[in-house]
Symmetry: C2
Subunit: 376 residues, 2 copies
């Protein structure tokens, strides 16, 4: 392998694929990036066997070939090189890197040992707007927690129906659900339900978050692939392929309340701040109490700890329905409030023991269900 | 105690004194901030018994008194309160905090248990420019390392002579020395030598770093005090008082080379970058090799690790003197280069085993001595 590439381009690619390579002690090759040529493209790939990434760039290829090089070392190294042309050449299993004032030989491992990263050649695909999709994913991406007993809820659920995607995530204390409407040109012929690992979703957000443009999603029975095209060509620039989590996602729709006994419309930032303040005095159980007084149009937020002290604040807003007194874990309430970015939030309550629902008056596509702390 | 104060002011003060309060398990009172009134001033104080801090602000004092309150809790709490007036009132050992929509009682400890923070009432003082002094301290503040066997070099040495302060710090592998010239109006009648704890210096930098204006330094046999005045009054706003480290500072001047065999003037950023790049391949001993070839006006920087690979780069610059080949620990070289902010640096070498000296062509007040790695 022998080629010339601009430092800026190489750095860009390495910063993307480096994220995926793992720190495996049992399989050292997974710490490496596969550098290979495909005609006049340089290709960088990495995988942790759960997610795989491929990145391409046009370059002056003089000789085809491939090699694998430790990912963090190569990426740190190329980040520090001066702008301008970099000559890469494989020598046995090593990589020689030359630029203006630099001459370096980095030890690698044989490209033949590198695992094959699958691809999805046929099957249906849909087209998304990259930035919007990342913002949508962010509303649920942090909700799941790793679970060995219930692996299915450690992932994020996707349900595809014609031209709607519904995404859901839960950790059994709270649930987020987001609906995404596809362009009509991108509707599906079949329905798909699948569970994606949380890590995949976070990497998708990290990689495509600041990359405006089209993002394509390809389906296969065991895998899913995200792809964005290279500017001014039809060749892909980045492909992320991920395994799916097996199992059936719980019928979460059951726990979304169909009605409410009390409904609040509050200033989002003020409510958020008061929940944060109350959290300081909530003690070990994270409990904060919400008391709604429809007559005085006041919501009282309080917390108490025998060690720290006694706290209360109130917020006024639009209040409908019954008076109610109910306790929540402040962490779950805060996460919900933080996932809604509009100036006002709706908070629907169901007596003193039913789940609460947070949503935005300006956005019907998102809701966040939070379970109360039961009185003991 | 009963008073009114603006949230913004209180927040400002708490963010300063909170830094000093400790996380002591044996003496819980040290986790607290002492809140007290002094006529029409509110005073906040904290100490870890090594450093003490006092902060004052004018406020509407209705009733004199004092109380101590857990520092992190109070500071996090006040940070979250809305702008505007806050009413503070002590109730037994608790503090009641009331503002627009908030009503909170925080548990505290009796002010009588709080240690007395000493002050320096008489003795000499000098006047410094706060921002310049912090920038000067930053050139040496990170050099010392904690040492129980040689506590004197774990601190930063100050030598005061008439209108010059010389500051030095070392960890026995490298040494930084900075000279500061005082305004003639601020000259001293006696000479002082003292060793300040590294923590004190770092707190001084953190607190006064973004606070332009005058900083006064007061001397006493066992303590030193830094003070800045309150705007538009002669009352102090902040006082930091610190114990000194006992012992004699080593005669470090001995190790500063008086001459050199080779002298380089290099582009600072390029040199810094090449040292960083070489550091990636330096292996466990952190060794990078510098080879100076006066004939070709080239400095070759190289490193090698049997596991990672083989690296070299070169930099051109003004070179005087003998050819030389010498090894340094890249960490110590980098720290020195980072403490010099000018576009060019001077690097003076002494054969293949003498200490190197980094300085700036534009600033004779600072030098950084770095010991080489001896060939084994």
């Amino acid at each position: 392998m022998k080629l010339l590439i601009l430092q800026e381009k190489l750095k860009q690619g390495l910063n993307i694929v480096e994220r995926i390579s793992s720190k495996s002690l049992t399989l050292p090759i997974l710490n490496n990036i596969l550098i290979s040529t495909e005609k006049n493209f340089l290709n960088l790939s990495a995988t942790d066997l759960e997610i795989g990434v491929r990145w391409w760039v046009l370059s002056k290829v003089e000789k085809q070939g491939s090699v694998t090089i430790p990912s963090r070392l190569l990426s740190s190294f190329v980040n520090l090189l001066p702008n301008g042309n970099v000559a890469l050449e494989s020598k046995n299993n090593n990589l020689s890197v030359k630029s203006d004032n630099y001459k370096t030989e980095i030890k690698g491992l044989s490209a033949e040992e590198f695992p094959i990263i699958p691809t999805i050649a046929d099957g249906e695909s849909i087209s998304l707007d990259s930035l919007t999709f990342c913002r949508d994913l962010n509303q649920v991406a942090d909700i799941p927690v790793p679970s060995t007993t219930r692996p299915e809820i450690s992932g994020i659920y996707f349900s595809f129906q014609k031209n709607t995607i519904t995404i859901a995530a839960t950790d059994s204390f709270r649930l987020g659900e987001k609906r995404i409407f596809l362009k009509s040109s991108s509707s599906l012929t079949k329905e798909y339900s699948l569970i994606l690992p949380q890590k995949t979703i976070k990497e998708i957000v990290n990689i495509f978050n600041e990359k405006p443009g089209e993002l394509k999603m390809y389906f296969s029975p065991n895998q899913i692939m995200f792809e964005c095209p290279m500017e001014e060509t039809s060749h892909p620039q980045i492909q992320i392929i991920s395994r799916l989590i097996e199992g059936d996602y719980p019928n979460y729709k059951e726990i979304i309340p169909k009605k409410y006994t009390t409904r609040l419309i509050l200033d989002r930032n003020e409510f958020l701040n008061q929940v944060k303040t109350a959290s300081l005095f909530s003690g070990k159980v994270n409990e904060i109490k919400i008391k709604v007084e429809p007559k005085s149009k006041k919501v009282n937020i309080s917390s108490r700890s025998s060690e720290l002290g006694d706290h209360q604040s109130f917020i006024t807003g639009k209040i409908e329905g019954e008076p109610v007194e109910i306790s929540f874990n402040h962490r779950f309430l805060l996460d919900g409030l933080q996932s809604i970015k509009t100036p006002e939030v709706i908070f629907e309550l169901n007596n003193d023991s039913g789940p609460g629902v947070l949503k935005s008056p300006n956005d019907e596509t998102y809701l966040y269900v939070v379970m109360p702390i039961k009185a003991t």
